[in-house]
C-alpha cells in the first residue's frame, strides 16, 4: 500500500498538487474501507455457512426460507438487527456500556493493519508485526470487562470475567508459540515470517520435517486461538445454558451486532494468522508466478487455507463437548504453557545446532 501511494505520488502529476498528507490519508482510508467491507461480507457469508454446516452435521437443513437454500438469511438478520430497538437499561453504567462495543470492535479490527493478503497486498509492514497483534487483545479484554460491568447484570459480569480470564490465560501460549516461529525467522513482521517458509508443504512451519517444535507450536497456537475467540470447546463465557449469553446479555440491536462482528472477525483473524505463520501463507500449493498473477494466486492460497481453518472451527463446534471452567484454565496453564515453553527451548537449541 505504501509503495503504491509513493508510486502514485511520483507518477501522477495531479496528486503532486495537493499536500501529500491528504493523498496518504485518503488512500489509507480507502484501504481500511476495503478491509472493512471485506470483513462484513466475509462475516455475513460465514454466519450463513456456520448455520448451514451445523444443520448438515446434525442431519437437518439449516436456514431454508429466505432466498434459495436460505442464502439471504444473514442479510435479513443484519437488517433486523439494524432496525431493532436500542435499549440502554437505566440502571446500567451508560458511559461504559456505550464505549465497550467500540473497544471490542477496535480490538478485532485493528489487527488488519498488519495482516497481509498476499505478497504485495497489504496495508503496512509494521516492524513489531506479531507483537502488535498480541497487544490488541488488551482492547478486547478491557472492552469485555467494561461491557460486563456496564450492563449491571450478574450474568453479564460473570461472563465478562470468565471471558477476560480465559483470554489472558490463552494469550500466553499464543505469544510463546509465535516466539517459537520467530526463533527461525529473525523477523517479527508477518511478511518476514511467511517468506521464511518455502513453496512446498514440507518447508512450512507446520511440517515436522522443518522443525518438530514449530509443528507443536502450530497446534498450540490454533488451540489457544480457539479459546481466545471462545469457540467450542472453550465457549464458557457465553455458555447459554448457564450464563444466558455472557457479557452481551443486555445489548440489543446494532450494539450487539458489533460484538457479534468482532467475534467472527477475531475468528477469521486467528485462522488467517495461523495460515500465515504455520501454513506457509501465500507460499501455497498453487504454482509461483510473477506480478499480478502471482498476487492473485497468493491471495487464493491464503484465503483457501484460512477458510479451511475456519471450517475446522465450525466442525469442532459440533464434535466436541464443552469443558468445565477448571479444565479450561488447567488446559492453558498446565498443558499448553509448559508445552509451548518446551517447544520454544527446543526450537532455540535446534536453530543453534543445525
Amino acid at each position: 500500500m505504501r509503495e503504491l501511494i509513493e508510486y502514485l505520488l511520483t507518477h501522477v502529476p495531479l496528486l503532486t498538487k495537493v499536500p501529500s498528507i491528504f493523498v496518504y490519508a485518503v488512500f489509507i482510508l480507502i484501504g481500511a474501507g476495503v478491509v472493512l467491507g471485506y470483513i462484513s461480507v466475509m462475516v455475513i457469508i460465514w454466519v450463513y455457512l456456520e448455520r448451514k454446516v451445523a444443520g448438515h452435521i446434525q442431519a437437518r437443513y439449516g436456514p431454508m426460507r429466505v432466498g434459495p437454500h436460505g442464502i439471504l438469511q444473514t442479510i435479513a438478520d443484519a437488517i433486523k438487527l439494524f432496525m431493532k430497538e436500542d435499549i440502554i437499561i437505566p440502571t446500567s453504567h451508560k458511559v461504559l456500556f456505550i464505549i465497550a462495543p467500540f473497544l471490542v470492535f477496535f480490538g478485532a479490527f485493528a489487527p488488519f493493519v498488519v495482516l497481509p493478503y498476499s505478497e504485495s497486498l497489504y496495508l503496512s509492514k509494521m516492524n513489531v508485526g506479531v507483537f502488535y497483534l498480541l497487544a490488541l487483545t488488551a482492547f478486547e479484554v478491557i472492552g469485555i470487562i467494561m461491557a460486563g460491568w456496564g450492563s449491571n447484570n450478574k450474568w453479564a459480569l460473570y461472563g465478562g470475567m470468565r471471558h477476560a480470564a480465559q483470554m489472558i490465560c490463552y494469550e500466553l501460549p499464543m505469544g510463546i508459540s509465535v516466539l517459537t516461529v520467530v526463533v527461525f525467522t529473525g523477523s517479527l513482521t508477518l511478511h518476514g515470517i511467511t517468506n521464511a517458509q518455502g513453496w512446498l508443504p514440507w518447508q512450512w512451519f507446520i511440517s515436522p520435517l522443518k522443525s518438530p517444535f514449530t509443528f507443536i507450536a502450530g497446534f498450540v497456537f490454533y488451540i489457544a486461538g480457539l479459546a481466545a475467540t471462545k469457540r467450542v470447546p472453550f465457549d464458557l463465557p457465553e455458555a447459554e445454558s448457564e450464563l444466558v449469553a455472557g457479557y452481551h446479555a443486555e445489548y440489543s440491536g446494532m450494539r450487539f451486532a458489533f460484538f457479534f462482528l468482532a467475534e467472527y472477525t477475531a475468528m477469521y483473524l486467528v485462522c488467517a494468522v495461523t495460515s500465515l505463520l504455520f501454513l506457509g501463507g501465500w507460499n501455497g500449493p498453487l504454482p509461483r508466478a510473477q506480478g499480478w498473477l502471482g498476487n492473485l494466486l497468493g491471495l487464493i492460497n491464503v484465503l483457501s487455507k484460512t477458510y479451511f481453518l475456519l471450517f475446522v472451527m465450525l466442525w469442532l463446534r459440533w464434535t466436541l463437548p464443552r469443558l468445565r471452567i477448571d479444565q479450561l484454565l488447567s488446559t492453558s496453564l498446565k498443558y499448553l504453557l509448559p508445552i509451548s515453553l518446551g517447544a520454544l527451548l527446543g526450537a532455540a537449541i535446534q536453530s543453534a545446532i543445525f
Binding site: 446500567s92 493493519v113 477476560a164 477448571d326 484454565l329 488447567s330 496453564l333 520454544l344
Partner: protein, 141 residues
C-alpha cells in the same frame, strides 16, 4: 514507522465512525418504545434482586497474577528471540552463547511455573489445603 501509526489512527477513527455512525443512522429507522419491562435487567424473567456489582471470586485475581508474571516474561523474550538469527549470521558460537542465555531465562521461569503448580496457584478448585474448598468439592449443591 509514522506510516504504520497513521494506519492505526485511521483504523481507530474508522471504527469510531462505524460504531457510532451506524447507531446514529439507525435512529432514523428503528423503533423506540421503552417500557418498564424492557428497562429492567434480564435475569431469566425473574425480577432482578440486589446489585450485580458484587464481590467476586479470588480465583480470577489469582489467575491474573500468574498471567501478569508470564506476560512480562513473553514481553522480555520477544526482542531477545528476535535477534537469535542475527547472532547466527555473525558466528555460531555467539548464537550458542545467546541461546544459553535465553535458556537460563526460560528455565528460571519454568521453575516458577513448577513452583506455582506445586503450590496449587494454577488450580481453579484448590482442593487439598483449604477446608472451604474441600467442603465445596464434596457437596457441590
Amino acid at each position: 514507522m509514522l506510516y504504520d501509526f497513521a494506519n492505526i489512527v485511521v483504523f481507530l477513527v474508522l471504527t469510531g465512525v462505524l460504531v457510532f455512525g451506524t447507531l446514529l443512522v439507525g435512529r432514523l429507522v428503528r423503533t423506540q418504545k421503552p417500557t418498564p419491562e424492557k428497562n429492567t435487567i434480564y435475569e431469566c424473567g425473574e425480577p432482578p434482586f440486589g446489585s450485580s456489582w458484587v464481590r467476586y471470586n479470588i480465583r480470577f485475581y489469582n489467575i491474573a497474577l500468574v498471567f501478569l508474571i508470564f506476560d512480562v516474561e513473553v514481553v522480555c523474550l520477544f526482542p531477545v528471540i528476535l535477534v537469535l538469527q542475527h547472532f547466527k549470521l555473525i558466528s555460531r558460537t555467539l548464537m550458542l552463547v545467546a541461546v544459553g542465555e535465553v535458556a537460563f531465562f526460560v528455565v528460571v521461569l519454568v521453575i516458577a511455573l513448577i513452583y506455582a503448580w506445586h503450590k496449587g496457584a494454577l488450580d481453579w478448585l484448590r482442593a487439598p489445603e483449604s477446608p472451604y474448598s474441600v467442603e465445596e468439592s464434596h457437596n457441590p449443591e
